[in-house]
Symmetry: C2
Subunit: 196 residues, 2 copies
DNA sequence: GTCTATAATTTGATAGAC
DNA sequence: GTCTATCAAATTATAGAC
């Protein structure tokens, strides 16, 4: 078996912890959730849980990374990255706690380069922005997106609406986040003049 | 003098405190700033400062409200609300700490109805959304915005981009927030088909 | 109105036994 | 690897003097 040795065991356990944490946070939310709360739900003591992660922030950053992995696995690999993004946003309405976690961590980490999650967000936005810009460029060549639109800017804007809609959705869960992201996307596809 | 009596004095002092706090937060940022830090900068003890506000969260909510007042006073009353919004976003690049404060408070307060700032955000989004939707409706009648676009949805989306761009700007201050909000606005003005 | 002093917790992190 | 126990702070909020 490939999972032999203490290293693999540690990794497997870590993943198991993260998947449980993902469920717990998704439901119970993230109200400055303490390490102990999470420890209880995964059946470990606080110290036991922190054995796997260097700090609280590292733990929650790992949760965010794991969530991206899970989301990616669920997405249709055939689909345009923009379509995938919209699908993920649509799913977000089912996991309020994760939306809360993402929003909280992003505000805390983006403005503080020394925050444990800073690198995660840098990588995430760079990666998504590039992927989306590439997809937009392809559509542009097909004439589906006006030539005057800068792909990177449009990509940036699509990510921004996604993030911003989370705030308004938390305020009123009846709000349809995905629909609003789609509106921007359709406006771009429908634009005929050539905004910079 | 109109400012006589303990009530008026209290109000004046409160405003004075808030204006100082606004400066301090704008520069120093909001890294979970403690009440004591703010108290020091306004020349009061921690308890002295809390004499004017019921709690820490009430204090920071008051700072946000005061900031909106100041921003509103600076805006051109002749301008379209959407243009005003873009102007405010442009100014935001000069007050990083306030962007941080707004982002932090919005994530904390929107998801928690019992948070001291919850009502503030409810009112703020409702008000801005309505005003923007009205302005969009007017443009629609003039034929500047496609008839098929729902004014409230477009308004919602413009607010979302504004919020979302703050995250990406905190990550990279070279990002031009206003320019990206304008992109969405121009896409809407340039759209020719009729997205819902 | 403002201060000093302190209560009241909470909670992240670590040391060390098993 | 996991736990118990404890440390070490950091703050908010309040009581009560002046």
């Amino acid at each position: 078996m490939a999972q032999r040795g203490s290293y693999a065991k540690g990794v497997a356990k870590r993943t198991e912890i993260l998947d449980t944490a993902l469920d717990v946070v998704a439901r119970n939310g993230f109200r400055g959730t303490s390490v102990k709360e999470l420890a209880d739900s995964v059946g470990l003591s606080q110290a036991g849980l922190l054995h796997y992660f260097d700090s609280k922030d590292e733990l929650f950053t790992a949760i965010l990374r794991r969530r991206d992995e899970v989301d990616l696995a669920l997405a249709d690999p055939q689909a345009d990255i923009v379509e995938q993004l919209i699908t993920v946003i649509r799913h977000n309405a089912d996991v309020p706690g994760l939306v809360q976690l993402f929003a909280s961590m992003s505000t805390a980490a983006t403005s503080d380069p020394s925050h444990a999650a800073h690198a995660y967000f840098v990588e995430r936005y760079a990666s998504l922005r590039t992927q989306a810009a590439d997809a937009i460029t392809i559509r542009q060549r097909r004439g589906e997106v006006p030539a005057g639109v800068d792909p990177t800017r449009l990509a940036t804007v699509l990510l921004a609406v996604s993030d911003g809609m989370q705030i308004q959705w938390m305020l009123d869960p009846a709000t349809d986040m995905a629909e609003h992201v789609e509106l921007v996307w359709r406006l771009a596809l429908a634009a005929v003049a050539t905004p910079a």
